[in-house]
């Protein structure tokens, strides 16, 4: 069975600084998707970034980028130039390319941004 682990329950970053959130996963599949979702206090799930496992290039979305290490089964999220609005829970998620396409989420990392 696939699992997703986020070992940092909470992280803090100074405004304008860079922070990296960690995520590891376990799967026997060779093709899959990985995602980072942001959940602000409203609890809406907002897609931050997604990575296809077959792509070697790391995904980037503006200030957000990932470091995808397939062999190590690691998928970290880097937030550059952190802003107060980045404060939220961040969930890493895994999805197979076959089956029902359900998501498997990690336990989340709460990010605090300090002014």
């Amino acid at each position: 069975a696939q699992t997703v682990t986020q070992s940092q329950p909470e992280m803090s970053v100074q405004e304008a600084e860079t922070v990296t959130l960690s995520c590891t996963y376990d799967t026997s599949e060779s093709d899959y998707y990985l995602f980072w979702y942001k959940q602000p206090p409203s609890r809406q799930m907002i897609l931050v970034i997604r990575q296809e496992a077959y792509k070697q290039q790391n995904a980037t979305e503006n200030r957000f980028s990932v470091n995808f290490q397939k062999a190590a089964k690691s998928f970290s999220l880097k937030i550059s130039d952190s802003q107060l609005g980045d404060a939220a829970m961040y969930f890493c998620a895994y999805r197979r390319m076959t089956g029902t396409y359900k998501y498997i989420f990690g336990t989340g990392t709460r990010l605090k941004v300090l002014a």
């Binding site: 609890r43 359900k102 989420f105 336990t107």
Partner: protein, 113 residues
């Protein structure tokens, strides 16, 4: 931009009562999901629905739960006899095609007293 909607945003019910949570997925989507998030915990998969039938369900999704797509637009989750431990945020999500990303609704907060 199309979005998934959920109603109500907050439902309060007494233990033992039946509740129906409603979702309107994005219109051309084919795959539908319910997830649950107990306060302070991770988001957990409940059930997936495709081609008018359940395609997968988790251990959480016991006989007290059911899903339906009654009219081609709504997607509902029914809990027959609510328990205190059913208190959680329930998210609906939909997916157009397998290569796409799931779109999540804003959630329904269920409080069982």
């Amino acid at each position: 931009e199309p979005e998934v909607t959920q109603t109500p945003s907050h439902q309060v019910t007494q233990m033992g009562q039946e509740v129906i949570l409603r979702c309107v997925p994005i219109s051309n989507h084919l795959y539908f999901y319910w997830y649950r998030q107990i306060l302070g915990q991770k988001v957990e998969f409940l059930v997936s629905f495709y081609n008018n039938e359940i395609s997968e369900k988790s251990e959480i999704f016991d006989d007290q739960f059911s899903v339906e797509r009654p009219d081609g637009s709504n997607f509902t989750l029914k809990i027959r006899s609510t328990k205190l431990e059913d208190s959680a945020m329930y998210f609906c999500a939909s997916l157009a095609v397998p290569t796409d990303t799931q779109y999540f609704g804003p959630g329904t907060r269920l409080t069982v007293l």
